[in-house]
Amino acid sequence: MKTISIEATPKTPTITFDSGKGFLEIKGRSIPENALEFYKPLVEWVEKYADKPQTSTNVNIQLEYFNTSSSKCILDVFKKLEAIKKGGSNVLINWYYEEDDEDMLEAGEDYQAIVNVPFKMVQVV
């Protein structure tokens, strides 16, 4: 599987997915009216990757804003990662938040409580 990258738009984030390195990054803002349409390919790629994952998978989530429509899709991606971890590989989700952004930290903690994957909360100063 090749490296996949999607460029950011005013309402959607940059997505980088390098299956050879076991690296996924979602960065920027995710506020599309219809997030399902935007995230569908990513969910499918991660699902395909789950068939033959690397021994460790690193995931960076560095979002400035995300809407509730995206929140469910991000959870869908995390659920796929949970399945990879369940299959015996290491998965780490690095959740970035800006120093004063308590809402973003809380959002990360909410996912951490729902998904059975290790999270690392990373403060960006």
Partner: protein, 180 residues
């Protein structure tokens, strides 16, 4: 005749940053969010407040957008339109939105909002997680989490009203306050 001075005075005295009435499209929302973002930047607003205002704005404007679909296209332009107004008075941001909803949907919607208003900060957080984890998304991508998110982020009760318009429609207005 339109009295431009009168309109200007009203905008000034109510500190209106932006107001709109009409059809809510995805392109409109992109523009409005860009305008509001640069306004917040020009006001040198604290990043924390800026983010909160922007986030809440995204949710309530997208609520208007998703609710548009419930109204059939054969309805007249008044019923198919929504309005919103964003202002700042005494360090408090106010976002007012209004849209028409079918009378048959009022009771269910009202009950949901009243239930959200009964929840404490912690309960809201638990409820949010439960809905996030279980909710099936509707076709257009609304999860039904928008109102819960607004209540959570503002830390205020949802201030809403339903006013009867005719036999078929009611006007739903939401008044959101974001204090500093």
């Amino acid at each position: 005749m339109i009295d431009i001075y009168d309109i200007n005075d009203k905008i000034e005295s109510n500190n209106i940053m932006l107001s709109f009435k009409g059809d809510i499209s995805s392109e409109l929302l992109t523009s409005v969010l860009q305008i509001m973002e640069s306004k917040l930047d020009n006001m040198k607003e604290e990043p924390k407040i800026k983010k909160k205002v922007y986030n809440v704005l995204v949710e309530c404007l997208q609520n208007l957008y998703h609710h548009m679909d419930e109204i059939a296209t054969e309805q007249n332009d008044v019923i198919r339109s929504a309005f919103f107004m964003i202002g700042k008075i005494d360090n408090q941001y106010n976002i007012v939105t209004g849209n028409y909803i079918k009378k048959q949907n009022v009771e269910v919607f009202k009950k949901r909002l009243e239930e959200i208003n009964l929840l404490s900060k912690e309960e809201l957080r638990e409820y949010y997680k439960a809905v996030l984890n279980n909710a099936e998304m509707s076709i257009k991508g609304g999860v039904g989490l928008g109102m819960v998110d607004i209540a959570r982020k503002t830390g205020e009760k949802l201030d809403f009203k339903f006013s009867s318009v005719d036999n078929f429609f009611s006007l739903f207005t939401l008044n959101i306050k974001i204090a500093q």
